[in-house]
């Protein structure tokens, strides 16, 4: 009898059909071996014709539901999936796509033309914070990080080519600017956050001093 590799064995005795884990109709399982050393690395459920039939029927039903979902709703769901699978292997393309899709999903609801703030890196809480700081940075300012500055220019052009336009009614004025802020991050992660400032991005500043509050410095 072949040895079962210690520590890596996976027991998947159920089949994922119609949104839940179910036992195969005959309850049979099958070992999966590593061809390099012939060790058993997993033991999985063996589907029968009836199980396959059920999975195909479910997929068919899902297709019918999915095709009647509006493009806007679909983009919402896909964006959510995108957020979950943003991994380092997708590198910078994953970041760009995520930002474009968030802006697209937001459409006219965020009162374009906007300032799109993008946070890249940090822990998840820091990432959302720097996205907010990016969105509130003065227009005309540029990211200190040269890679971030490059991204600002590229994303700004891409976003303004989408045709969302002022108030989401079409046209080429979707974002006044894209501002990027970056932070150091652990190499297993790739947190990206988008925070959008609406067109009435009024700015006011004050400084607390020993002589009182100074406004508009």
């Amino acid at each position: 009898m072949r040895a079962i590799a210690r520590g890596v064995i996976k027991l998947l005795h159920q089949l994922y059909i119609h949104g839940k884990w179910v036992s195969g109709t005959r309850g049979l399982t099958k070992p999966v071996t590593n061809p390099a050393n012939e060790q058993i690395v997993a033991e999985v459920a063996q589907a029968q014709a009836e199980d396959v039939e059920a999975a195909v029927n479910s997929a068919n039903l899902g297709f019918k539901i999915w095709r009647s979902v509006s493009p806007w709703e679909r983009s919402k769901i896909l964006n959510r999936v995108a957020y979950l699978i943003e991994v380092p292997a997708d590198v910078i393309n994953g970041v760009k796509k995520f930002v474009i899709d968030k802006v697209m999903e937001s459409g006219g609801k965020v009162c374009p033309p906007t300032i799109v703030g993008v946070g890249i890196g940090g822990t998840s809480d820091l990432c959302t914070k720097i996205a907010k700081l990016a969105a509130s940075r003065p227009l005309g300012s540029v990211c200190d990080d040269p890679e971030g500055a490059k991204l600002e220019k590229e994303l700004s052009e891409a976003i303004n080519s989408l045709g969302i336009g002022a108030q989401g009614l079409g046209g080429n004025s979707t974002a006044f600017a894209v501002h990027v802020e970056t932070a150091a991050t652990h190499i297993t992660m790739n947190p990206v956050a988008v925070n959008i400032m609406c067109n009435s991005a009024r700015r006011a500043q004050a400084r607390f001093t020993t002589n009182g509050v100074e406004y508009g410095f």
């Binding site: 393309n93 474009i100 006219g108 989408l162 336009g165 108030q167 989401g168 009614l169 079409g170 009435s200």
Partner: protein
């Protein structure tokens, strides 16, 4: 594309005349509603003393100042600033607003979705887009707060505004299943593919 000045309340015939791209200025009355107002009306069974039949509502929670009731502030509220909030959060209330209360105009920003488009078509209503972020201008179009209902929800009370000339506003969704937001959405999806390709990102 035509401009209309419409006195509130308004008939279904007048609504059916309106097409996307037209502009409208409202006179007479306007009612302010927001998330909480409609949650209480349609999820918690509350009713309003106002007759909204043929009337217009705007997605807002105005800034007001409580004052002693006087001639120009009969409800005891002085207007500070009336702005408009994003409509999409309140998408599910369009049909009940029209069915139960007879509302014909919804004023907001950012647009509404498929259910509203269908309700406008079946029941005779339109969505008027205001420019978000221009509350200061919007405030000058309003004469006074004449009355208020469900004021325990303040600032999300049901407000009754007396208008000067409220507009021009853009007909962005009409009663003929046309929506400017749908048109934009279709081209945006095509443009997205091109934008990603230009950046060398596989779609």
């Amino acid at each position: 594309m035509a401009h209309y000045t419409i006195e509130m309340p308004c008939s279904e015939e007048a609504i059916r005349e309106l097409k996307i791209g037209d502009t409208v200025t409202l006179t007479g009355w306007l009612h302010g509603i927001r998330d909480a107002t409609q949650i209480h009306m349609f999820d918690r069974g509350r009713t309003t003393k106002f007759d909204l039949n043929g009337h217009a509502v705007i997605h807002t929670a105005p800034n007001v100042r409580k004052v002693e009731p006087r001639e120009d502030c009969p409800a005891g509220y002085e207007i500070v600033c009336v702005g408009t909030t994003t409509s999409m959060r309140m998408e599910r209330f369009t049909a009940p607003l029209m069915l139960r209360e007879g509302v014909r105009f919804i004023i907001g920003k950012g647009g509404l979705g498929d259910d509203s488009r269908d309700a406008f078509n079946e029941l005779g209503g339109v969505y008027l887009a205001i420019v978000g972020g221009t509350a200061a201008l919007e405030t000058t179009w309003i004469e006074q707060i004449t009355d208020v209902d469900m004021d325990d929800l303040n600032p999300e009370s049901l407000w009754k505004f007396k208008l000067k000339e409220f507009g021009p506003l853009l007909v962005a969704m009409d009663s003929h299943c046309q929506s400017m937001y749908d048109e934009v959405q279709v081209s945006v999806e095509q443009n997205r593919v091109k934008a990603l390709e230009r950046m060398g990102i596989p779609v």
